[in-house]
């Protein structure tokens, strides 16, 4: 399997000399092509900071992150935007759709930013919208559709450009359980049939059970790592709950 992402001993400190908070304290892991990896942990465990570092929204204090062969901690300021739009896809907790654009246009937006030829855009958008089951609401505005549909639109936007990796930050956080399940099935499908590599931050064990591999963070360090392997999702879910119990006092926050 090809190695897509390599996180190598990264650290992230906040604060001044006298009072340092270590948000990330030496984390290393690899993500291979086609993996659906989950990152879990209590609030303050550093999972969002980790995601921000990988997505180049934040920069690391020490260590390196490689996307394929490229060290993204070394990218020059002026090249970051270009790197981001070419290689990364985003799914946010609060959808981040533009109210002024229709669903279709929200998906097309990332393609216009990438300067895809105008004639191809329409085809690509329709294709991906069909796959994710929102082709019937393409002409509606975000405020006219449900949260689940909005998040599916965001997923379309994240994958339509064929990014190397999709970064999802609590994608089910604003959805009810049914919509959440639908979305996760779609993400699983994106991962399996379109071979998309997904890195998802979540605190919800049900969401995490759709992943193929889960990293547990505690106080900025990797606390545990489990893999689904050939397990059923139900069994994997129970395994996750066990690890969360092990996480101790913080586990209550996690649930």
């Amino acid at each position: 399997m090809k190695k897509i992402l390599k996180v190598d001993q990264i650290q992230k400190y906040y604060g001044n000399k006298d009072n340092i908070t270590k948000a990330i304290d030496g984390i290393s892991f690899d993500v291979e092509e086609g993996e659906f990896i989950g990152i879990m942990g209590a609030s303050g465990s550093g999972k969002t900071t980790l995601l921000n570092c990988i997505s180049t929204i934040d920069n690391v204090s020490a260590g390196h992150i490689y996307l394929e062969e490229q060290d993204i901690t070394e990218i020059k300021e002026e090249d970051i935007a270009k790197f981001r739009r070419k290689n990364l896809g985003f799914i946010f907790q609060d959808f981040n759709l533009l109210d002024t654009l229709t669903i279709e246009e929200n998906i097309a937006l990332i393609l216009t930013i990438n300067k895809v030829h105008e004639k191809e855009i329409d085809k690509k958008v329709l294709e991906i919208a069909k796959k994710l089951g929102i082709d019937d609401i393409l002409n509606k505005y975000p405020y006219q559709v449900s949260g689940g549909q909005k998040q599916r639109c965001a997923s379309c936007r994240a994958i339509v450009n064929n990014p190397k990796i999709i970064l999802a930050d609590e994608p089910t956080g604003s959805l009810d359980s049914k919509a959440a399940r639908q979305l996760l099935e779609i993400m699983e499908d994106m991962n399996k049939s379109m071979n998309a590599t997904i890195l998802m931050v979540t605190h919800d064990p049900l969401s995490a059970s759709y992943c193929s591999k889960i990293l547990f963070l505690k106080d900025g360090k990797i606390f545990n790592k489990i893999e689904k392997g050939d397990n059923e999702r139900k069994a994997f879910y129970n395994e996750i709950l066990d690890v969360l119990a092990l996480l101790g006092g913080d586990a209550r926050d996690v649930r």
Partner: protein
């Protein structure tokens, strides 16, 4: 309890309220400074002498009120939109709509009241500043007195609270009518297009174009037909112009939407989609705003040009019409009383008396055919002067002597029509005067008071040897006048002129004294009125006198007031426009910030984002300028038409360039500043 809650909420949104507060203050200040001018005694005097003028003031007040109403409405709706979620939450918590709208009303009345008082204070300073700017610009000794006037405060209060209460009632209605759901999601909604089908849109567009063209034509007629219809015409033209401009921008923005929606490949090109959608989401607000700004630009362009025209007029009219300090025209050649009076009361430099002769028309006035001067001058007779007299007058004014052969003449015209004659004599360089063929040697353009005193627009200069024949024809004309066929009595010059130059300028008292020297006689005039022969007596004098000093003091006040007023209005509107755009950009910057932030997250780099911002702001700034620039040119030409006797076309075009240049300069600075601030707003938070 609710009051406390709302107060706390308002405090938390202080930043938005600052925008709102400042808008209200500026509106009040601008309105107040205009009203201060409108109620000043100078303007009132002027208005009482010119009915048309007071109508213009009323018209402008209406426009100012409309614009302020729009501005206040815009910001209050903006606040309502901002707080709609909060109000929705109150409603969910079970608070009645009535208490919510009461709360909103109370809050706004308090804010409005405070802003009004501050606005009056700011306005008091503002008009002092505007006043001194204009005084410096025009360098005029005459000053319009503006003092703090309670009447102006009263009128401003009436306008402002009138607008305020109406807008507030509208907001209350909106709160009452809006469902909770809509209140909660009001800020996410996009506006719908006012005109849905494209046929309606094309019709609207055509109507707007027709209205604009008619406005120009009617306005032109108002200024060319010197009848009492002028005021009404201009008033109608203004209303058509307002309607036309708004309809134009409403239909144009619909065209933009159509253009965008109908072509996917255009839509997906570069940042088109993002920009178009930003505009479309606010399409109604946008088209009304564009219309409003365009209207203000038209006023600025026309006002600025009128101001400069008046200034030119003042300078040129005095220069052309009053080359001599004292000019007297009389039926007979007995000037002894006048000479005595002048010698006693002034420090005379030079004094000269001469004769003017009238002869039948020579066809020279054909030079005016097809121009704006056609029919404006006296075309029944010509005015002739002898070369000796001409040279003496030239000497008095410091010009060199000229010579003529026995069969040559000179035409001395106003400089504004000199080129017409030059063109005319290319083909017709000989004319017949008093049955003698003469050659036109040259056309001269010196100012010798050819505005009625020494001929109308031009004077014919003949060598002295021709004078006996000319005098004979003059005598014939005077004797025969009264014949039905040849009734030119009305047009004849008095015939005997006296001009004098002095060391220092004369005053109005001198002028009054001079005019008392003329003999007066009662004349019985018979005229047919309503089919009945009626007789009435008029008092006529045996001549008239003009002095430069008297004219100066009169003209200065008259032109200075109009020119001041026009410039003042232009400045007020420039400020109002700037405020409008500032409010619009600032109030929406939160929304835009979120949008641009997302673009950044998705991987658009800063340079591209800045370029997109530039395009967006450029659109907002440039589009409203298109119609005003096009439409103001014919309007200014019409208005300028009434000045063409004293102001040349070059001067009119130069004025246009000056005003446009100044506007673009101020506007450009503002555009750049907005851009910089916008970039900072979007990129600053990183």
């Amino acid at each position: 309890m609710l009051g406390k809650l709302s107060f706390r909420n308002a405090k938390r949104q202080a930043k938005d309220y600052v925008i709102y507060f400042i808008t209200v203050i500026i509106s009040v200040a601008l309105m107040f400074s205009f009203n201060s001018i409108a109620v000043s005694s100078d303007i009132k005097e002027l208005s009482s002498s010119m009915e048309y003028f007071s109508k213009a003031i009323t018209g402008i007040s209406v426009i100012i009120i409309l614009i302020m109403a729009w501005l206040i409405n815009y910001t209050m709706r903006f606040m309502l939109e901002k707080r709609s979620k909060e109000f929705g939450t109150y409603e969910i918590l079970g608070i009645e709509k009535k208490s919510i709208s009461n709360m909103f009303t109370l809050e706004n009345l308090i804010i409005g009241g405070i802003a009004f008082i501050i606005g009056i204070v700011v306005g008091t300073f503002l008009y002092q500043v505007l006043n001194s700017i204009i005084m410096n610009l025009f360098n005029q000794p005459y000053q319009i007195e503006i003092v703090f006037s309670l009447k102006a405060v009263g009128i401003t209060a009436l306008y402002f609270f009138g607008i305020f209460v109406l807008v507030l009632l509208n907001c209350r209605r909106k709160i009452k009518k809006t469902k909770v759901y809509d209140l909660l999601y009001l800020d996410k909604k996009n506006e719908n297009n006012m005109i849905k089908n494209s046929k309606g849109n094309i019709v609207t567009f055509l109507i707007s174009v027709i209205l604009l063209i008619s406005a120009v034509v009617i306005n032109h007629q108002g200024f060319t037909n010197a009848s009492n219809m002028a005021g009404r015409n201009v008033f109608i033209a203004i209303i058509m112009l307002i309607l036309g401009i708004y309809l134009f921008y409403i239909s144009i923005s619909s065209f933009i939407v159509k253009r965008y929606l109908n072509n996917k490949s255009r839509k997906y090109k570069k940042d088109n989609m993002f920009l178009y959608r930003n505009l479309i989401s606010k399409i109604n607000t946008m088209s009304v705003m564009m219309g409003t700004i365009a209207l203000m630009f038209t006023i600025i362009l026309v006002g600025g040009n009128v101001a400069l025209l008046m200034n030119n007029m003042l300078n040129n009219e005095i220069e052309m019409g009053y080359p001599f300090e004292i000019m007297i025209s009389k039926e007979d050649n007995d000037f002894s009383k006048f000479k005595e009076y002048i010698s006693e009361n002034t420090d005379v430099k030079d004094m000269y008396e001469y004769r003017l002769y009238n002869i039948r028309k020579t066809g020279l006035s054909k030079a005016f055919e097809g121009t704006q001067f056609e029919g404006m001058g006296v075309e029944e007779i010509e005015t002739v002067m002898s070369l000796t007299d001409y040279n003496k007058l030239r000497e008095m004014l410091g010009y060199e002597k000229v010579t003529l052969k026995d069969d040559e003449i000179i035409i001395n015209s106003l400089k504004t029509v000199k080129n017409l004659f030059e063109k005319y004599i290319e083909e017709n360089n000989t004319i017949k005067i008093a049955d003698i063929d003469v050659k036109i040697k040259e056309i001269r353009g010196e100012n010798l008071a050819q505005i009625g005193f020494n001929g109308y627009y031009y004077t014919i200069i003949v060598p002295d040897n021709l004078i006996p024949m000319i005098a004979k024809e003059d005598e014939n004309l005077r004797n025969n006048s009264g014949n039905a066929e040849e009734d030119v009595a009305y047009y004849l010059d008095f015939g005997y002129n006296l001009v004098a130059t002095t060391e220092s300028m004369t005053d109005e008292k001198f002028y009054d004294g001079l005019n008392e020297l003329f003999e007066k006689k009662e004349l019985i005039v018979a005229e047919e009125i309503n089919g009945e022969e009626q007789e009435y007596s008029v008092e006529v004098t045996s001549g008239y006198a003009q002095t430069k000093g008297e004219r100066m003091s009169q003209a200065k006040s008259f032109y200075a007031i109009i020119s001041f007023l026009a410039f003042y209005i232009a400045l007020i509107f420039v400020m109002a426009t700037a405020t409008l755009l500032a409010i619009q950009q600032l109030s929406d910057s939160e929304k835009y910030k979120y949008r641009y932030e997302l673009l950044k997250k998705l991987g658009m780099d800063e340079l591209e984002i800045n370029r997109t911002i530039f395009k967006q702001i450029l659109f907002y700034f440039a589009t409203p300028m298109l119609v005003p620039i096009v439409i103001s040119i014919p309007i200014i030409l019409s208005v300028g038409g009434i000045f063409t006797i004293a102001v040349t076309m070059e001067e009119i075009f130069r004025n246009m360039l000056i005003v446009l240049g100044m506007l673009i300069l101020v506007y450009g600075i503002y555009f750049i500043a907005t851009n910089v601030q916008f970039d900072r707003n979007i990129n600053g938070s990183r």
